[in-house]
Structures are given as C-alpha cells and as structure tokens.
Symmetry: C2
Subunit: 201 residues, 2 copies
Amino acid sequence: MRKGEKRKQELLAIAYRLFVTRGYENTSVDDIIEEAGIAKGTYYYYFESKEQTLEEVIGMMIEEETETAKQILASPIPVPQKIAAIISSFRPAPEEQSIEGALMRPENTLMHDKIREKLYETAVPILSEVVKEGIKEGIFSCDNIPERVRMLLVVSSDIFDEGRFTKRDIDVFIDMTEKLLGAEPGTMDFVRGLIRKQKKK
Amino acid sequence: MRKGEKRKQELLAIAYRLFVTRGYENTSVDDIIEEAGIAKGTYYYYFESKEQTLEEVIGMMIEEETETAKQILASPIPVPQKIAAIISSFRPAPEEQSIEGALMRPENTLMHDKIREKLYETAVPILSEVVKEGIKEGIFSCDNIPERVRMLLVVSSDIFDEGRFTKRDIDVFIDMTEKLLGAEPGTMDFVRGLIRKQKKK
DNA sequence: TGCATTTTTCGACCGACGGTCGAAAAATAT
DNA sequence: ATATTTTTCGACCGTCGGTCGAAAAATGCA
C-alpha cells in the first residue's frame, strides 16, 4: 500500500513531462509505460484511463500555481502589481511554453482547454479578492467583479498563451484592464515594463 | 470529372451533418462512408485525411456566415446594431448549438478551436470596418481597432458559445464593449433586448 | 516459520480507428 | 473497338486506448 503511492507519483511525473514536452495527443500510454519500465496492466492498475491521468496531471500543475498566487495575494505589494503578478503566475512557465519544441499548441487543444477551464475556476476567486482590495483602497471601482475578472483572464489567455503578441495588444489589454476595473488611466502602465521581448508574429 | 465533384459535395454534406450532430471526434470515417454507401478507398480518393475534411467543412460554414456578415455590413441599419448583428451572425445556429444532443462541446475541442480561429480571421476585418464607420459618425472613439475587435470576439465566444450565461455577464459585456470602443454609456443597451432566455448555469 | 490473503505486476489480446494500395470497373477520349 | 483516364472497391496495416486472468510480491496472521 505504500509502494503503490510511489509508483503513482512516478507515473504522474513521467506523464507530466511527456504531456508538456510532446503534448497530450502525441503521447501514447505505451510511451509512458516504456519510460517507466512497466507493463500496460500496471499502468491501468493506477489509472482508469489516459484522460484521467491528464486530469491528475493538470490538477498538480494548477495546485502549484494556486499556491504561488495565494502568496502573492497575501503579500504587501501594491494592488495593481498583485493583479499583474497573479495573472502571469498562472501562465505556463517559459520552459514549458515555447522555449523548446514543447507545445502548448497547436494540436494540444484538449489539454490546453482543460487547463484553461480549471485555471479560471481557481484564479477568478483569487483575483476577485485583489480587485475588492483595490476597491476598498479607492483605486478600482466596479461591480460584477468575478465576471470582469474572468473576461480579463479570457483575453489574457488569448493574447499571451501562444507567446506571440504585438505592442498594440499590450496597449489595448492595459486600456481594457483599467476600464473594466474602473481605474485611473495609467494605473496599469507599469505592466509594459514587465513584458519581455516577444515575437510579433 | 463532373461526377467527382458531386461525390465530394455529397461527402462534405454528410460529414458536415455528422460532425455537427455527433461531434468530430465521435464521427469515424467508417460512419461517413457507411452513410454514403461507398468504400474506404473512395473516401480517400476525395480527401487526404479526416482532418482535411474537417477543414473543408469548416470552410463551408464560415463562408456562409461571412456572406451574412457582409450583407449586414452593407445594410443601412445603425452602427451599434450592425455590431451586434454581425457578432451574433457568427455564432453557431441554435439547431447546431444546443437544441439537441448536438455538441459544440464538450469533447469537440478540436473542431471548436478551429472554427474560432477561422472565425476571428474573417470576422475581425469586417467588424473593424463597422467600427471605423462608427468612428466617422462620432459614435465611437478608439485606436488599435482590430485588436479591440478581436478581444470583443474572444470574450463573446467565451460567454456565448456554450449557451450558458447570466444577466451579469451581459451587463459586463455591454459595459466592456462600450468602453473598449469609446462609446457613450448606454449605446449598446439595446443588446439586452436581443438576448433570448438563457440558462443561468 | 508456514500459510492465507491482499496488493501489485505482467503481457497477450481486443476492438476501433485512420489510413494505404493494387487492381478492378466505369467513364471518356481517339 | 481500343486506349486512357477517372472512379470505386475492400482487404489489409500499424497504432492506439483499454481489458483480463493469472502470476508474483508483499503483507497479515497462527
């Protein structure tokens, strides 16, 4: 009963690496068991299906990111910086995202979507807290906070997930953020400084 | 050479119906050829792959919708109404969307994503024209129009594609649209009247 | 220690799937 | 009537996710 847990963690780690580097669809169960040096039956002793494995892998990823986000929430930095930091804490790490053939796209639709879904689920409440904080400070002013926060996340996914965006995208995103949250123009300008050089397409 | 075209159109029609009602992933090539009453080889005489078939099916869909959208663009209705009409012309028709087990979701990620991608590609330029028109009329005021339009589409996809949204979502969406385009508050209020009763989740 | 029970591992096997191919049949040109 | 091109056929292939009964380890118990 103890050995089992180790096995599962080991398999999860392998699956995670493979899914992230080659993509979910391009990773077969046979790939996983070959790397683990086990038989098919053993794999299915620990997982109901390949998809359930994906679910658990995603669970792990989000858990880590949620941890980071909560720390940021509790930290004493200014509210606008918190927003930016939390949003970017939920983006795929550079090593996972584009650095190498690692594909968060284009054929990894399924994985990508499941991640997004779960991410919204956990990120919206946290970011909503920050926005409330901002409202108390008088720096933001808006209603329907969770809905607004979600839209922010949806747009930032579209812009940033694939790594290719232009200066104009950033300008509009900043403008939109300020207006959605009812902040003074310029409040989110500092974001521009955080963006690393990106390909324009 | 004439007969061939008919065949292909026939296959395309069958594939379209099957993809839309059962979903792409849940439709096998065998399903298609069985319904068409032909052999596997014949299918692959007309299509390179199942995915290419999907590509062509999507092309057909978007083409129709683009037609509608362009007519709206050229029609003499007020600019804000044009915006709303064009955006909704690009949404899946009710029959295709939720009416019956027909699934635009949840496992149809691939199809859904390809549709979205192609939709942005064609809808952004058209909507940008409308926004420019609005700016000329003095009803809108903004820069970076294509980027703003895309964000509008991205958000509306997220909200409307699955058919389940709340009144709050609508409120925020309207507010966001007005602010993104630099319109007077209330300019897009009429949209509320266009929304049919929806499930709240 | 020996035996029973539970946990873990194994790999042959399965059905479904997307796709290939050589050759027959149908249509068309000469 | 014959030659050529277009269309159709279906057996066959490799891969994939998943199943299953039985063997092998590990553990509980006397």
